[in-house]
Each structure stands twice: as structure tokens, then as C-alpha cells.
Symmetry: C2
């Protein structure tokens, strides 16, 4: 089982869009995939069409020690894709979750239950590093860092790279960077050029070959509660995420 | 003194871009303005060209009771704009700040020191509701809610509207919604149409008349560490934020 966190301590970089569409693409390639929504807003759930009343339990309940992971797994429209909603519906639950996640091993221990059931686990993280993201990083084999072309994103990238060094030292020596993924990419703009230059100079060995283009289908699909490949498989967005999934599967098959 | 928080519990909606460019526009209109960066990443600081080594103290130190607010105020290129950096440079400081901000009155008490010095205080909030954002809302007269056209943003809008009811009951009866501001707006797209319809149906009285268009100058300006009106005053982005500032000043003058 390959556990991948999708994280960067900056908002709006495409973490949820990447998690949902990568998980859906892996499922389309018939890899047994579990998507876990660790984001307080529950954006992955929205992207798959789950409404608050359909979700009775989720990741919150695993951290609250009232449910095992197996009991909070929901089916999706895709045969090979299952889903764990976040189920963090109030600010008070958010506060409690933050305290419960100070124990960095909750997620890692919970994932042991399902080791034989899935080939891939994708964890959609909130835009912070501490708390539940730390839990996810301690439980992961690798991390995908989605980012837009922007000055803020480069700073956020630096922060998570620094943080991963600390995670490796204190909690999870094996975690590696699966790759840095440029999202909402608009070529031939000044910010794309500056960001690209900076990334090639400092992080070239971590950059994925492919980028995710800015593509309205990806944002529209979330309105209709479906991953892009079920909403419009011919869109550039769906194709780009399918390419990402193929790249990750190829790496795993090779090693 | 009019204190305005810029907040929504979703990442990447334009909180920092709005805070920086609104504050700069108010300063250009010769209102004495203080911009406070309450975001852990320090994106407002980046937008004004501050690098980590230039910042010796900031909001963190006010919450840590080592500095009064007056001692963490920095000058900017604009005569009427001062700035308080966040100065939250490590995850450990972030953890500590979260605990310190459980006392909801720290920011309100700190702002009393400067009541005679400024006409406007703008607070750039992180993409969560608890912790420092709660502090900011308890200290504010009003709140601007920036949002993109997206399903996630509508959910996040509902959450903050619900939270504001609670804040009014338990901590700050006077806080009102200054307005909902559509950012990175691209007309004639399906998501703009769906989001617009939803907003007009449920929140029409809160919507600002103007929207902030998607405009690459706004993202580029952050690379050069300047507000858009200093980077390229003729850009649509700079003009739109100047219009927003004019609207807010007009409301205050009228009442
Ligand atoms: N490639 C793309 N093209 C166009 N829009 C996109 C693309 N990727 C994401 N979006 C849109 O950009 C916004 C931000 O993306 P998303 O919510 O996935 O980011 P995030 O990092 O998960 O945000 P948060 O920090 O709040 O968790 C959403 O409205 C989403 O629909
Ligand atoms: N009107 C606009 N046109 C084009 N790009 C924009 C616009 N407004 C913001 N951006 C860009 O979109 C990204 C997100 O904006 P910003 O960082 O201001 O959002 P935020 O809500 O402060 O994010 P966070 O949740 O991380 O604090 C940034 O890269 C910014 O440069
Ligand atoms: Mg997300
Ligand atoms: Mg911000």
C-alpha cells in the first residue's frame, strides 16, 4: 500500500482538486484507492457529491476513538475508489481535533487496519503544517506538493521542505517528496516564467514532468460533485490528472 | 478608528491580496491605515517586500506579551500605510500562537493602544476560523469576505456567516458584514454564473457592487513586493481595489 499526502501550507494551491482527481484516475486504472479528506471544510467530500446529511461519521470519529477506519469508509461512483469524509462540521470539533492530533501516530496506526485492502491511500490536507497534516505526513510514504505560480507559493514550498526534514528526523525517516506539481498553470505569463525559473534553479529534481493547466472543467466538476474524468473525460484537466496517475503507477511498478 | 477583518475559512480566496491592496488604496486616499498580518505564512509581508531577516518582531510578540502593538509597527513606502508583520517563522511558534489566541480578547485590548493613531485597521486572516481569526473578529467592527466563484467557496461563506452569529452572541455584538467580495472574477464562465445565481438568491444584500477581476498584475505585484497601485496603477486590479476603498470610505463618511 502506497500512502501519499497532498500538502502545502498555503491556501488554494489545488490540494483538494489534485487529491480527488488523482484518486479518481488511480481508480480508473483499477488500483484499489482510498481518498481521505483531512481538510476541515470537507472540500473532497463536496467534490464527490457528498452533502453534510449523508455523512454520519468520518476522520474526526477515528481521531475521537469512537470509530475504526473501516467503519468510516464510504463507496463512490467508481468501483475502485472509496472515501473517508472529514466530518468536521463545527468549530468546536475543529478545536477538539487539533488537540487529538497532537498525538502524531493516530493516522499511522489507523491505516494499519486497511493495509491489505488498498493499493493507494491519498490524503487531502488542510493549508497548515501542524495538527492533522503532521499526522498525515507521519503516516505517509510520500508527499505531493501542488502549487500555483506565485511568490507566496514558493515561500510555502520552502516551509514544507524544511518541515519534511524535521519529520524525517523525529517521526518518519522514509518519507520522500513524490513531486512538486504546478497547478492552474497558465504558460506565457510573467509569474509562470519567474516561478518556473526559481523552481528549476532550486528544486529541479523534485518537479513532475507534467503540469496541470488552468482548466475550468476542474472547477465546474466540483459543482456537480464528480471528479473531472466522470464530468468530462476529454477535458485537459482530466487528461492531465490521468497522466499524473500513470506516472505514479509507473514509478511504483518500476521499483 | 474602523477595524476590518478580511476572512473566509477557505484557502486561496484572495484574503491577502484584498488586505494589502485595500490598505494601500485607503492610504492613497490619505486615510491613516494599519495593515496587520495575522496569517502564519506572512503573505502580507511578502506582498510589501519584507523579508524574514528584516522583521525582528510582529503580531506573535504581541500575543506572547513581550511587545506592545506600538513596538511592532513598521513603516512602508506609502506615507499613510503602516504594517504589523506576523513574525510566525516556525511551526513551534504557530503551535504556541494557537494556544495564546485561545484568549479571545488579546487583539481587542492591543488595538486600544493605537485608537487615536489610525483611521483604518485591516487584518489579513489565515484560512481557518478558530485561533487568531477569532481574535480578529472579536476585535473588528466589520468583516470583508473575499471569495472566488466556486462550490467550496459557497460552503466556506456559509460557515463564516454561521460563525459570525456565534461571535455576535458571545463576544462582539456589533460586528457586521462589510460585504462579500468576488475575487479573481472571470465573467461568462459557468462557475461564475452558478456562483452568481446562488449569491444573489441567498446573500444579495451583502454583495459589494464591484467585483475584483482576474488580473495578472495583482499576482505579479507580489513578486516585486509592492501593492498593485505602486506596481502598475493603471491595471484593472489596482483600479478595482481603489474603487473598493472609495466605497468603504463613502459608507463611513455617510454614517
Ligand atoms: N487546474 C485548475 N484549473 C482551474 N481551477 C482550478 C484548478 N485547480 C483548482 N482549481 C480551483 O481553484 C480553487 C482552489 O483549488 P482547491 O480548493 O483544490 O485548492 P486547495 O489547496 O485544496 O485549497 P485549501 O487550501 O482551501 O484546501 C478551487 O475553486 C478549484 O476549483
Ligand atoms: N484578482 C486576482 N487576479 C489574479 N490573481 C490573483 C487575484 N487575487 C489573488 N490572486 C492570486 O491568487 C493566489 C491566492 O490569493 P491570496 O494569496 O491573496 O489568497 P488568500 O486567501 O490570502 O490565501 P490563504 O488562504 O493562503 O491566505 C495568489 O497567488 C494571488 O497572487
Ligand atoms: Mg483543499
Ligand atoms: Mg493569505
Amino acid at each position: 500500500m502506497h500512502v501519499i499526502s497532498v500538502a502545502i501550507p498555503k491556501g488554494g494551491e489545488g490540494k483538494t482538486t489534485t487529491s480527488v482527481n488523482l484518486a479518481a484516475s488511480l481508480a480508473a486504472a483499477e488500483r484499489r484507492t482510498l481518498l481521505i479528506d483531512a481538510d476541515t471544510l470537507g472540500a473532497s467530500g463536496i467534490s464527490l457529491g457528498y452533502t453534510a446529511d449523508q455523512v454520519k461519521s468520518g476522520l474526526y470519529d477515528v481521531f475521537n476513538y469512537t470509530h475504526s477506519l473501516n467503519r468510516v469508509i464510504y463507496k463512490t461512483e467508481l468501483t475502485y475508489l472509496d472515501f473517508v469524509p472529514s466530518n468536521i462540521s463545527t468549530v468546536q470539533m475543529e478545536e477538539r481535533l487539533l488537540r487529538l492530533s497532537e498525538n502524531r501516530t493516530v493516522m499511522r496506526i489507523a491505516l494499519r487496519d486497511i493495509e491489505q485492502q488498498y493499493d493507494y491511500v491519498i490524503i487531502d490536507c488542510p493549508p497548515t503544517l501542524r495538527g492533522i497534516t503532521t499526522n498525515a505526513l507521519c503516516a505517509s510514504d510520500s508527499v505531493i506538493i501542488p502549487m500555483r505560480a506565485s511568490h507566496f507559493s514558493l515561500d510555502a514550498l520552502m516551509r514544507i521542505m524544511r518541515y519534511l526534514k524535521w519529520i524525517r528526523e523525529v517521526a518518519n525517516p522514509q518519507i520522500y517528496v513524490e513531486g512538486i506539481l504546478l497547478t492552474m498553470f497558465e504558460p506565457n505569463t510573467k509569474i509562470a516564467e519567474i516561478t518556473g525559473r526559481e523552481l528549476r534553479a532550486r528544486y529541479s529534481k523534485f518537479l513532475f514532468k507534467m503540469v496541470i493547466p488552468k482548466n475550468s472543467t476542474l472547477a465546474e466538476a466540483a459543482f456537480y460533485g464528480r471528479p473531472a474524468l466522470l464530468y468530462n473525460i476529454n477535458s485537459k484537466g482530466a487528461q492531465a490528472y490521468f497522466e499524473l496517475a500513470t506516472e505514479i503507477v509507473a514509478r511504483d511498478t518500476a521499483s
